[in-house]
């Protein structure tokens, strides 16, 4: 039995304009200690997936499908049962360390909270454990820092506090939603390395959400590329990066700035914008922006085809996409 098995997950958000289908037919599975990257543009459903896994969707969100954690379907759990799972068996790190910590409580108090809640530690035990955790995530001088408020720490240190917080109850799964996006480039690597080391040490499974292909390539074993609320390409990380198949994945890759392209070199872009989740097109959601799109793409949703073992792509023109890769689909 997989640690986490998500089948046919649908997330929709009711809005004044009608339901927005933020996530459609998502299937992911994660073994103990495995790392999965979810990559895609803003608004592709990455964060909604993470929130749905945690059971923390906004009030207007509804879910369908199954999310089973060690065989227990989380979508059938009561709110009370979910409270025992959140922060304990599943923990999450958020994008904005600046706003994700409570400004009026010391960081120590905030790390102590899950320790006391889930592990039933006394105040003094939790305090000791907190200092240990802060040391582990690389916060210098933890016995003093523990009394600091978030505004007294740098962005990188705050994210370390968030990591200590998420780590506190040794969860089975750690979900990191763009954990480095808000940080300086120099700090980003340190934080990713820290997460990677802790995941290895603890044997946690990691779901790393990012829009940055480089981050995903370096830190995960499996990848799911999301577009318009659905996974368009998934598989083992090296296979995907060695054999980019879906036109969207190729576009994302081409859009990454590369060293040595010269100051006058133009960045490649994918034309157009992400689809409106309220009025999704009937066929492939990428049709409007795809260089290979045909009439068929606009009307029929593509089925899943397997490129190699485990490497799955949803595209009508998969062969053409792979063949065209050499010259580049995007000019």
């Amino acid at each position: 039995m997989a640690l986490l098995d998500v089948e046919n997950l649908d997330v929709s958000l009711s809005t004044a304009m009608g339901p927005a289908r933020a996530v459609r037919g998502l299937n992911i599975s994660l073994e103990k200690g495995e790392t999965l990257g979810i990559v895609g543009e803003s608004g592709c459903g990455k964060s909604m997936t993470a929130l749905a896994l945690m059971g923390l969707l906004p009030d207007n969100g509804t879910t369908e499908g199954t999310i089973s954690l060690q065989g227990e379907d989380l979508l059938l759990k009561s709110e009370k049962e979910m409270c025992k799972i959140r922060g304990n068996r599943m923990a999450m790190i958020f994008q904005e360390p600046m706003t994700s910590l409570n400004p009026v409580h010391t960081v120590g108090r905030q790390i102590m909270e899950p320790l006391r809640l889930h592990r039933g530690l006394s105040k003094s035990e939790a305090f000791k454990e907190t200092i240990g955790l802060m040391e582990r995530v690389g916060i210098p001088n933890p016995s003093e820092r523990v009394h600091n408020y978030p505004h007294q720490l740098s962005g990188g240190q705050r994210q370390r506090v968030m990591i200590a917080l998420a780590l506190s109850c040794s969860p089975d799964i750690l979900i990191a939603d763009e954990p480095t996006t808000a940080l300086d480039v120099t700090i980003q690597d340190q934080i990713l390395e820290l997460i990677q080391n802790l995941v290895d040490e603890e044997g946690m499974a990691l779901i790393l959400i990012s829009h940055d292909l480089g981050v995903i390539a370096e830190n995960t074993e499996k990848v799911a590329v999301m577009y318009g609320g659905a996974v368009v390409e998934s598989g083992p990380t090296d296979q995907i990066f060695g054999n980019l198949a879906h036109p969207y994945t190729q576009g994302l890759f081409a859009a990454m700035p590369k060293l040595g392209m010269g100051r006058n070199g133009r960045l490649t872009t994918i034309p157009g914008t992400v689809p409106d989740l309220i009025n999704l097109p009937a066929g492939c959601t990428f049709t409007d922006r795809c260089p290979l799109a045909t009439d068929e793409c606009g009307t029929t949703a593509p089925s899943i085809s397997t490129v190699e073992a485990g490497h799955k792509v949803t595209c009508h023109h998969i062969d053409q996409a792979i063949n065209g890769r050499g010259e580049g689909l995007y000019k």
Binding site: M54, S100, P103, V104, Y149, H151
Partner: protein
Amino acid sequence: MSVFFAKRFMTLLATLLGASIVIFIVMEILPGDPALVILGVEATDEAIALLTTELGLDRPALERYFDWIFGILQGDLGNSYAYKVPVWELVEGALKITVPLAILSMILSVALALVVGLYAAANHNKASDISLMGISQLGISIPNFWLAVLLILYFAVNLRWFPAGGFPGWDEGFWVCIKALILPAVALATVQGAILARITRSSVLEVFREDFVRTARAKGLSQRSTLWLHVLRNSMIPVITVMGLQFANLLAGTVIVENVFHMPGLGSTVLKAINNRDTIVVENVVLMLAAMVVVTNFIVDILYAVIDPRLKAHDI
């Protein structure tokens, strides 16, 4: 921390000094000669001149200002022109009604506001929230003097639970006095509490949308624990700001309700003094009100810093 307090305290003193100057100048400019008002329109010029000298009003303004200020510093507020008794004697009784009334109204208002505001926010958009906010809208719209009359009719005349008006004085016992203050306090607190409840609700709802609330939920805290442990304190800044303003308003703006209940509070005292051109009483009472408002703001500032450590940091 001490720098923060020291700064705030200096501001407090400067504000009071400024207020005393403004009050004095306004009373100087105000038409109406105290001696003329006391003696009446048929008094002879000599009599008026004599009384003016006797009251010390012929001295230069600057001299009278400093006399007043140094008097206050030594605990002497001067003598009333109209009644020839020390100002403190006139004001003392009024203070003993107005201040407890303001405090009692504030307690009722805050209790009402927190209970209603938090309950409504916790049940956002549910029937209980919508009906509570509807009722609070009604509470805001009711004029307090009219509510005061209704309260008298029902609780004092029909049920006879409370006196219909008047104030026995604190010598008659604590509970008797509190009983006399309840109805006016309810009349005043209803409007203030309704406003404060709406502010509490919207502030709590706003904080609920913050990222750190999501973090708290991701830790495994229930919605309710999140409200108490993380949201409440963060949402109190606007609530306390309005509380401060309301308290100031209660000290000076209760004349109408005091009149309905026949209570000679500070408002009625100052109104009478203005009619008598008893400028020294007016000056002292207005300065006293200013002092209470400034002190309230000082306390609000300190509460800000207690609630949000960031504010302290910015100030130092």
